[in-house]
């Protein structure tokens, strides 16, 4: 009787343990998919930072690959499938404020500028010189649940005046 009861308790204890093993396996796969998605996100944005400014497409949901940047449906060597989407828009006009220096004043000394040598605050406005780039990598968990990771950066046009 005692042995039977012990066996029953052991059997009952094994049920959650076996499901825990399955849960652990699924969690590991889920983590792996998320890590690969994060790596894809970083690789795509770093690639965008290296592409020529003029060749980066504009749009709210760009999915067409260009140059070295893979967009749209991307299958990784591990066999995971992701949707990579680029949102790209100009920060325009870009306003940059500063105080100009009155270098032509007779009393101006380049190595010791005084408060009176500075003009009132001004703003330099630049058009279409900075892109805001947002990349979204999305994938499906449990075949239906949509998950995504996103990051953003800016890209400046340093060649706007030919170098």
């Amino acid at each position: 009787m005692e042995i039977m009861l012990s066996l029953l308790i052991m059997a009952a204890a094994m049920i959650p343990i076996s499901s825990l093993m399955g849960y652990g396996g699924r969690a590991t796969s889920k983590d792996a998919r998320r890590i690969v998605a994060i790596q894809t996100l970083e690789r795509t944005l770093r690639q965008l930072l290296n592409e020529p400014f003029a060749e980066i497409p504009l749009g709210a949901a760009v999915k067409k690959s260009f140059n070295q940047v893979n967009l749209g449906t991307v299958t990784t060597p591990a066999g995971y499938e992701y949707e990579v989407e680029l949102k790209s828009r100009y920060i325009s006009p870009l306003s940059l404020s500063y105080q100009n220096v009155k270098v032509n004043l007779p009393a101006f000394k380049a190595d010791n500028p005084q408060a009176t040598d500075f003009a009132a605050a001004e703003t330099l406005s630049l058009t279409d010189c900075v892109l805001e780039l947002t990349v979204k990598v999305s994938w499906k968990e449990q075949q239906t649940l949509g998950v995504d990771v996103q990051a953003m950066t800016y890209r400046a046009n340093f060649q706007r005046r030919g170098g």
């Binding site: 012990s6 994060i38 970083e42 930072l49 940059l96 500028p113």
Partner: protein, 157 residues
């Protein structure tokens, strides 16, 4: 006979002890899995902060490229103690010191610093961008990116 009576119940004791040990191991296994998920979130926060800081650094470099003189003189005026307002004005752009709320929450600060070596021959500028990303679980995560820009001062005439 009495020895057998003493041994009664031992199987139950052993099984219950084993079941408790398995339960403890199971709970610690679950905790490990959950912590692993947290580490992924940290990694994403770090990458978001890094990439945002890279982008802001590009804007800061563009500003320096477009209007280098005002920064140079503003920095000297500040160092000499004549006035710090022009330097503050140079740092005041919202695109260089602001925050983003989408696709993640972050705030950032940009600082320009002239490097003291060869100040009058070279125009070496250190641009520091500090980004604080607020992770989905509410924990703030900070990254500091520094870039040095070297330039040669050319005579105006």
């Amino acid at each position: 006979m009495s020895e057998n009576r003493q041994k009664r119940g031992m199987a139950l004791v052993i099984v219950l002890t084993l079941a408790t040990a398995i339960m403890i191991l199971g709970v610690s296994y679950l905790k490990t899995i959950r912590n692993q998920g947290g580490r992924n979130t940290i990694e994403l926060g770090a990458i978001q902060a890094d990439l945002l800081a890279e982008g802001i650094t590009q804007i800061a470099m563009l500003k320096f490229k477009e209007i280098p003189g005002p920064l140079y003189y503003a920095y000297i005026a500040s160092v000499k103690g004549n006035s710090s307002d022009p330097l503050k004005e140079y740092h005041s752009d919202k695109i260089l010191a602001g925050k983003v709320t989408s696709p993640f929450a972050a705030d950032y600060q940009t600082t320009y610093q002239l490097l003291p070596s060869k100040m009058y021959d070279d125009m070496n500028i250190k641009i520091s961008v500090v980004v604080t990303v607020t992770r989905p679980d509410g924990v703030a995560y900070q990254r500091n990116i520094e870039r040095t820009v070297s330039g040669v001062r050319r005579p105006a005439f």
